[in-house]
Every structure is written in C-alpha cells, then in structure tokens.
C-alpha cells in the first residue's frame, strides 16, 4: 500500500524540471554578453508528459532524430535544446533578455504553484492520519 498519492511523484518531477529550467535561464542571462553564445531552453512539456504518463518502456536515444517506441510519447526525457537559428547582436549572441526575464518570472510562479499543491496534498494526508481532527 502506498500512502502517498501518486500525484506527489508527478509534482516532484515537475519541481525538478522547473529547477533545471531556472538554471538554464540563469545561464542564458549570465552569458548575455558572451560572443557566439547561443541561448538554451528546456523541453519542459516533454518533461511534464513523461512525469504524467509514467510509461513503462522508454527507448534510449543517442540522437533526437531517432524514432520512438509506439507506446511512448514522442519525446522521452528532459532535454536542454540550443537555439542556433537566430542572432540578435553582432557578436553572434542570441540571448533575448525580455524573453529570458519573462520565462524566469513564469517559472518562479509555476514553481510556487506546484509547491503550494504539494503542501495541499500533504496537509490533506495529515488530516486523514489525524482522523479529521
């Protein structure tokens, strides 16, 4: 018997993906003046899908063009993607500060929301343990 609800697992995954996202945006902001730096982003939706679906069998991919197993959602693990397609400044850098700041704020709110929900789950659990007292 598992006393912790399954959704806590999913939320834990969401929190760690959000932490990774925070790191990636911090790195983009730190490298805003680095010549030839290309901005990175986390494939967040894929991470969330993985956490929600909890598929049994995932294929190990060494290249992102590899095909997935049929019962697997199209993308497996959390990935950090590099955006090589744009260039904003003359030194080859493509960090868009406005986007980075907006993503940072969004990520922070998302993280707070998920922590709030984890707390809610734990509170209802403790309410059950105490017999509703």
């Amino acid at each position: 018997m598992n006393i912790f609800p399954k959704s806590i697992d999913a939320m834990e995954q969401a929190l760690s993906a959000s932490t990774l996202k925070q790191r990636v945006h911090s790195a983009n902001i730190a490298n805003v003046d680095t010549p030839n730096y290309k901005s990175k982003k986390v494939d967040f939706q894929a991470a969330l899908d993985t956490a929600m679906n909890k598929q049994k069998l995932s294929s190990y991919k060494t290249d992102n063009r590899h095909l997935s197993f049929s019962n697997e959602s199209s993308i497996g693990t959390t990935r950090v993607l590099t955006n090589n397609s744009t260039q904003y400044s003359n030194n080859g850098n493509n960090v868009d500060m406005d986007v980075e700041m907006a993503e940072l704020a969004k990520n922070q709110l998302w993280y707070n929301a998920v922590t709030e929900r984890v707390n809610g789950k734990l509170n209802s659990l403790s309410s059950v343990i105490n017999g509703g007292r």
Binding site: S26, A30, N31, Y37, T77, L81, N119, L122
Partner: protein, 151 residues
C-alpha cells in the same frame, strides 16, 4: 543540489560584470595617462583594456563529459573572463611641442581611451549585472519556497 548550481551560475555573471566595470573604471581613470609603461627607455601612453567573456567550462573535454553524463543534454554553465585584452588602435596625437613627452615632430602621443565607448560599456555591464541579480533573487525565492514544503 542543482538549485545551488543556479546560484553559482548567476554569481559567475555578477563577478564577470563587476570585473568589466572595474576595467572600464581603470580606462576612464587613465584616459590622460601619458606615462603608463616604459618600453625600450621610452614612455608609452596607457592602452585601453577590454574584457573578453566566454562560456565557463567550454573546453571540448568538459563539454564531452557533461553530455556523456546527461545523456546528450547540452552543458549548462556560467560565464568566465577568458582574457583582458589591450586595444591595439593607434594612440591619439596632439600637437604640443612644449610638452616634456613630445616627440621630435612636436606631437604628444596620448592614450587611445574613448570616453564614449567606455560609458556604453559601463551601461551594458550595469544592466547585465542587474539582470543577474534578478535571476539570483528568483532562484533564492524558489529555494525558500521549497523549504516550506511539508510545513
């Protein structure tokens, strides 16, 4: 603890931009320095210095190691100052035969610092510093929120 490494990334950005500000300050302070270094018994004016940034841990080996550990994840690292370079643009010349540093032709060589460039660099460094502070504060508040789990 990966949140703490986010702190380190922002801190590297703060350090790098602080150094950029220091170098700009040194350039402005030395804008009129005629005797900065002695080369072959002759005084040379101050040369403008510039900071070169690069992604930290960007050596090919470190990259390969990171991607091997994280199954193809691109390495997420901060920034580092790779070099402080000297600007090789020619010195400015000013006609002043009475000056003790004047050459045979009566021209005084003075430093190649352009205050306009320095101010632009200073503003850019300040803004980047502020952005890193914002990122650091965001990481900090997330960490504080995580500590509240289960309370």
């Amino acid at each position: 603890m990966s949140l703490f490494s986010g702190f380190n990334i922002s801190a590297s950005g703060l350090t790098a931009n602080r150094l950029r500000m220091d170098v700009v300050s040194a350039n402005i302070a030395n804008a009129n320095t005629n005797r900065a270094e002695l080369v072959d018994g002759e005084w040379m004016p101050y040369r403008r210095k510039t900071v070169e940034l690069s992604q930290s841990g960007s050596s090919p080996f470190a990259n390969q190691l990171q991607s091997a550990i994280h199954r193809g994840d691109t390495a997420v690292t901060g920034v580092k100052v790779s070099e402080i370079k000297e600007d090789q643009t020619p010195f400015t010349l000013r006609y002043d035969p009475e000056h003790p540093d004047a050459g045979e032709d009566g021209y005084v060589r003075s430093s190649n610092v352009d205050p306009l460039k320095e101010m632009v660099d200073l503003m850019s460094a300040t803004r980047s510093y502020e952005a890193n502070v914002t990122a650091l504060n965001a990481s900090k508040s997330m960490f504080m929120k995580a500590l509240e789990i289960g309370k």
